[in-house]
Symmetry: C2
Subunit: 313 residues, 2 copies
DNA sequence: CGATCTTACGGGATTCGTAAACATA
DNA sequence: TATGTTTACGAATCCCGTAAGATCG
């Protein structure tokens, strides 16, 4: 019933249809003329009818062969492009990688890495969602993202969570603020007296700080959505703000001052998350390798140089 | 470089992609599990990358495999339909036959045969050109028609001409005309005294008659294009007309009378013509067989019953 | 430990190439 | 007769199935 048909047969058929000569077509297929003849004969039996009219002097397509020629050409083209597609994807000449990354990393640390990735694999489409941790994880679970970098572990069984890096906190203030006197680390307790400006959406920062200060609390003066707004407010000396060290690039301004906070355990851990039940595409694996090689170092804004690559076998 | 890919491999791939289990997929392909495993392995080497992630417990498509699955499904469908196309054409379930037939035959003798052909092969499209001999032959030479029935031989080397039948001539006149006295054959000489109505376009008739009468000639009274007009004129008793016997059905009328003409060599020969350098399509061969089996007999309007079939091996 | 995929290996079918037979212009 | 296709046949290759090995849950 359902027959077997190979691209070799199709190529032989097309060669003969074009050359109209067994000997030349056989040579083009790197076959002896007799093997080629047998191959065509077999193909004709497969498809169930003669495809060529042949005398010793002339080889011509039959009407049926002519209709088959069109199909054969298209099949060959499609088959070759299908295989080329797979090869291109494996070779990272084509493909797509979708990332879900915390906004703090997405704006500061990620861009140069994406640029590097794009230089290496210019054919790969990139899709970055700069979203908060739980959305990052949701995206990976649903398959919308291949990789996520989030501040929480992915606890679903189908997810794999790799420790990525740790992020400390800095306090930022106006250069005229009392805290701007020194440039070294400050104790968390020193911050209590001052009005604070918080980033509402990244409530995880708030939780970390509250936990570390307990039973003391900070004076919340203002809650904002955007880090850049926080920076503007601090620049007006309306208060100080505790921010993840990786977001300090938002506060690179002559009127602002930043100091690291020294407090036991006051740091957040970031994780790289992907699905465990589906291997990463070749392109996504390449992205993972690159990200792991360039984890943010302990000093924000200065990439670590030691290699901690995880490579596919 | 260019690889070999067979529908067997594709079917195996699709089976595994759907079953996600080597053992079951192997069974579906009527293969041992080990042979199936090797086949998939070979396919993966062919396309140049892993298509499945497999542990002993789970078999899943890789991202690359998923893109390949779409292509594989389409390739299989196309390949099967291509083969089915050829088989349908060979089995005369589909196809097309183009005929070029003299108008005399096309209107009277051909229609019931086409009806019979269509009953036998309802999927075959038919194209009939009712044109004069030289156009018939031109159409076959140019490939516009598969078969022609014409009054002249096709003398080009790429044409094959089969004797088809001979056609005598009748004289038709009004029932009140002197010639209507008898019903048996008339001598050609008996016609000379009467004014004649000729069919201008089928000048071959004229040539035959002139040749047979030489050195005498007929009194040409009127030249017309359409046989039906000739019939109408004769019905008004404006003259008599010599027409090929096969066209007598145009003159089946109570007011008209027809008598065969007896004259040595006064008959035209009809030929069936097709290209010799291209075999007929299966459908056209079927048509040829049918036509040859039902050649018009010596008495017009009554199909011959003896079989003179020419069959393909 | 059980289910499942992979590897090893002998036997069998397929396919190849050389050479002779055959066909057509 | 010369060119080109088909047939014949031994040899190499490929593919299949059985059985043992490896791996994951």
């Amino acid at each position: 019933m359902s027959i077997n048909l190979s691209t070799r047969e199709l190529r032989a058929f097309v060669a003969l249809a074009q050359q109209r000569n067994f000997t030349r077509a056989a040579a083009r297929c790197h076959l002896s003329q007799s093997a080629f003849s047998a191959l065509i004969k077999g193909l004709e039996e497969h498809v169930g009818g003669r495809l060529f009219d042949r005398t010793t002097r002339q080889v011509e397509l039959t009407v049926e062969g002519e209709t088959f020629l069109h199909a054969a050409l298209r099949l060959l083209k499609d088959a070759e492009s299908a295989v080329a597609d797979v090869r291109d994807h494996v070779a990272r000449k084509r493909g797509r990688v979708a990332l879900a990354v915390l906004p703090s990393l997405a704006a500061g640390w990620l861009p140069p890495l994406l640029a590097q990735f794009h230089r290496s694999y210019p054919g790969i489409e990139l899709d970055v969602a700069d979203v908060l941790s739980d959305v990052c994880i949701t995206r990976v679970r649903s398959g919308q993202a291949d990789l996520a970098i989030a501040a929480t572990r992915g606890d679903a069984p189908e997810l794999r969570t790799l420790p990525f890096c740790t992020d400390a906190f800095h306090v930022v203030c106006h250069r005229d603020h009392p805290l701007a006197q020194g440039s070294g680390p400050v104790q968390l307790g020193e911050l209590a007296p001052y009005p604070h400006i918080h980033l509402a959406r990244s409530s995880s920062v708030r939780q970390y700080v509250d936990m570390a200060l307990y039973p003391h609390t900070l004076q919340t003066f203002l809650e904002l959505e955007q880090l850049s707004t926080v920076a503007a407010m601090v620049k007006e000396n309306l208060g100080v703000s505790i921010v993840p060290s990786l977001t300090l690039f938002h506060f690179a301004d002559a009127h602002l001052h930043a100091r690291p906070i020294r407090a036991a355990g006051l740091k957040r851990r970031l994780f790289l998350i992907h699905r465990a039940d589906r291997t990463l595409s070749s392109a996504a694996q390449g992205m993972l390798d690159l990200l792991m090689q360039h984890k943010p170092g302990p000093i924000p804004g200065r990439p670590a140089t030691r290699k901690t690559a995880a490579s596919r076998s």
